[in-house]
């Protein structure tokens, strides 16, 4: 009986760690879903562009020996810039009706960014600034890694800021108008390309936050992160419902939690299989996701 309760405690611990880590997936998922919301197109390069921005911040860390907070800021800004570059290369000059054209262009971008990070770092993982890794908070039998807790809190704050921007500012109003009625937005004198570009930069900022948190909670930045983060982000976006920000948050936390439970039971090499299977179950049973609209 004691063994059983020990097991339950372990699983709960894994689930809690996963839930906290899942907040970074939620940020990536929000980025994907935000772009889908305004463009009605998927930007597959989003996760890779975010981590490429984080890679750019390594320059500040390794060359300038900047403190962690500056490195994080550089990551956020670089990801925003890369978001704009992705918009220019994969969306701006491709017709709005040609959704597969943009999709393929972003896959090209994903491969390009993947190769750039591999070639420029010789494929070696690089150390990334870690936030107070040794501190633990204890609650009875459970412990919380305080850096993961910080990641969670910061993700919540970022999401809050984003929601405030979308629902409380003129810029956010313009974004929502463009996502609902592009033609009406045009008639009201809203510049559609500029609004779209702003959305890409905004989502890039979020991606930069997520990228630096992912790297710092592992302590390493590896090119091997790019494609798994992209896939997790896509899984989160689809499970949450394309275009739904609350959906992406719930799905991000859920995927993070389940991932760690799968990790506990089946080990690290099999973990991602079950995450992908979760996506299939959703596609087969509920293609519009948890909180997505019908025909989104």
């Amino acid at each position: 009986m004691a063994d059983f309760w020990l097991e339950v405690a372990d699983i709960t611990q894994s689930a809690m760690d996963g839930l906290l880590y899942g907040s970074t997936y939620a940020l990536i998922g929000i980025g994907f879903t935000l772009i889908f919301g305004v463009m009605r197109k998927v930007n597959i390069a989003f996760g890779a562009a975010s981590l490429a921005g984080t890679y750019a911040s390594l320059v500040a860390f390794q060359v300038l020996h900047a403190p962690a907070i500056v490195v994080f800021a550089v990551s956020v800004i670089a990801s925003g810039v890369l978001g704009y570059v992705v918009y220019l290369t994969c969306f701006r000059f491709i017709a709005a009706s040609n959704e597969l054209g943009s999709l393929l262009a972003t896959i090209g971008m994903l491969l390009f960014l993947d190769e750039v990070t591999v070639v420029s770092t010789q494929g070696m993982p690089m150390p990334y600034p870690v936030l107070f890794s040794d501190t633990m908070l204890f609650f009875g039998p459970f412990s919380l890694r305080s850096d993961l807790l910080l990641v969670f809190v910061a993700s919540v704050v970022c999401t809050g800021i984003l929601l405030a921007v979308i629902y409380r500012t003129r810029l956010g109003l313009a974004t929502r108008v463009v996502s609902q009625q592009p033609v009406a937005a045009l008639l009201c004198g809203i510049s559609v390309p500029r609004t779209n570009a702003t959305t890409f930069v905004l989502s890039g900022f979020l991606g930069g936050v997520a990228g630096s948190f992912i790297a710092s909670s592992v302590g390493l930045l590896s090119p091997l992160l790019l494609i798994p983060v992209t896939l997790k982000g896509l899984v989160v976006t689809v499970i949450g419902g394309l275009g739904s920000i609350p959906g992406a948050i719930v799905a991000g936390l859920l995927v993070g939690l389940l991932e760690n439970v799968f990790l506990y039971f089946r080990g690290v090499t099999e973990r991602d299989i079950y995450v992908m299977l979760l996506l299939f179950i959703f596609l087969a049973v509920r293609p519009r996701g948890l909180l997505g609209r019908l025909h989104a």
Binding site: V42, T89, A105, G108, V119, L231, V235, E270, P287
Partner: protein
Amino acid sequence: MDFYIGLLQIFGIHTLLGLSAYLLILTGQVSMAQAGFFAIGAYMAGICTAMWGWHIVPALALGGLLSGVLALLIGFPALRVKGMMLVIATLAFSEVVRLFFFNFNYTVLRDGIPIGPIGAEGFRRIRYFPENGWTTIEVSLFMGLIVLLVGGALWWADRSRLGAVVRAVGEDELAAQSVGINLTTIKVAAMTLGGVIAGIGGGLYAHMTTHVEHLNFGILLATFAIAYPILGGMGSVFGTLAAVVFVQGFLVEGLRFLGDWRNLLFGLLIMLAMNVRIKQLGDVRLRNLLRGLFGLRRRSHAGA
């Protein structure tokens, strides 16, 4: 000389991969699952010859068949989603297959050596061709024959009534449905046949390289598969062939002197091709783009 024969074999295998995606794109489905089917065919055919001692032809057939069955199984649920969602779903399928083989262990002892897929290490010693004394020329002719059969069958079907039906589904589903075409049958059949072709290609690939591992079957391979028909144009199977020769012959082999940096070019090429979308030189869109670049034409449209 061996180098050029090896290059021809790569052309053949990638042509099969590209044709499997070509068939699907004709029906309007862009699938990233071809890398997964290719992997299944490669491992299955390798298991048949290296571990069970089968002849190469039934081994390839079983590999193709298994891929086809899986394609059929994922074809039905995948039909519920279209366009972008299908790309995401099939991408996830390929990753599941890759991760499956990353965890897959199954070996038998032959001459005191364990043979078979060993997880991350991959599947070594798929040495059917050298063990049975096939020369490089014979292997190439065998591959050429398969490519010719598959390509010829697709070319012929493309020009027949069936080709018109398939293209109708790809161009306009509603119109196709209203003239009595069964969309589900056509799409699932294309998915299945695409799986079989990719599986056969994978089987040949395993026997050509004698060693496969899960890293061979990533997103890059899936992108290659759909890039060939798209870059080559959807006019006929020859477009796919031309794109294979261009990408594998020029971008990958011809630019080898650039070292690792040439891998960047493939991603850039896809981005460029999507932005320009040239059907042929002198295309009106290319002219407009050049005019736009040199400021001769004001951009008045506000799309994108």
